[in-house]
């Protein structure tokens, strides 16, 4: 994948990286013309996904890119790791499900906040979460 100015990729290894990812993702959204509320939603979604990477996979990447066509504009947020994977992807999308002692709102919350959401996971291979927010 080639990196253009409409794409960011941030490796998540420490809690400082979470801040970098959400700041850069927010700037990408700003350039695309999102309003303040959507920008907060985008930054929050990145924050939750990045924290999941740290919690469950120890490290991974946040990749964001923009879709800018005549019919629609949007931002894609992807969190990818090569961690242990998720056995039951249905369970992690239920509110209150947590194996970390957290609130269990991360993934279901991100799904609620964003317009499109997909999770692909293979045990022992890793997990990729992809979410899209469209400019309205």
């Amino acid at each position: 994948m080639s990196l253009t100015k409409n794409e960011i990729r941030v490796g998540i290894r420490t809690d400082s990286d979470i801040l970098v990812a959400r700041q850069q993702g927010r700037e990408l959204g700003e350039r695309l013309g999102f309003g303040l509320s959507d920008l907060a939603v985008i930054a929050t979604a990145i924050s939750e996904l990045a924290r999941n990477l740290l919690l469950y996979a120890k490290n991974g990447s946040i990749i964001c890119w923009t879709i800018d066509t005549e019919s629609r504009k949007g931002i894609v947020i992807q969190a990818a790791d090569e961690g242990p994977g998720i056995r039951d992807t249905e369970a992690v999308l239920r509110d209150g499900y947590s194996t970390s002692g957290g609130l269990g709102l991360g993934l279901p919350g991100v799904r609620r906040m964003m317009d499109e959401f997909a999770i692909v996971s293979r045990e022992g291979r890793g997990t990729t979460v992809t979410a899209i927010k469209w400019v309205k």
């Binding site: 809690d15 400082s16 979470i18 801040l19 959400r22 700041q23 927010r26 303040l36 509320s37 920008l39 907060a40 939603v41 930054a43 929050t44 924050s47 939750e48 924290r51 509110d95 957290g102 609130l103 709102l105 991360g106 279901p108 919350g109 991100v110 609620r112 906040m113």
Partner: protein, 126 residues
């Protein structure tokens, strides 16, 4: 990122200046819990006006701050949650239940003074 904690009369005011790492939030929590004893403070005001994100970790830590401060015998109010931050918190499902909030620092001080009167502690003007 260092969060300055100001002592104002019987209260401690923590003004968050910019985005915080998880470790900074934990540090703030522990500093407030400690200083409420050092200064024998009656209330803690945490001003989050500068924050553009309050995610699940931040909310959990703010709840912990309020609970720990209550166990130390003082009160907490969170002030300055911006409209778009409130919007994304609600979308995510975060309610900060059981934690007092106020519009801004002025309202937060008003809230504290009111609470102090109710529990019979007249705030020192100094």
């Amino acid at each position: 990122m260092f969060v300055p904690i100001l002592k104002q009369g019987p209260y401690l005011i923590a003004s968050v200046q910019s985005a915080l790492r998880d470790a900074d939030l934990i540090e703030l929590r522990d500093a407030l819990t400690q200083q409420v004893g050092t200064y024998r403070s009656r209330g803690v005001i945490v001003d989050v006006t500068a924050l553009d994100v309050l995610d699940s970790f931040a909310c959990r830590t703010l709840s912990e701050i309020a609970n720990m401060i209550r166990l130390r015998g003082a009160e907490t109010v969170i002030v300055g949650i911006q409209p778009e931050v409130a919007f994304s918190m609600v979308q995510l499902g975060l309610k900060l239940e059981g934690v007092a909030t106020a519009l801004d620092l002025e309202e937060g001080l008003e809230y504290m003074n009111h609470r102090m009167k109710r529990i019979g502690h007249v705030p020192n003007e100094k």
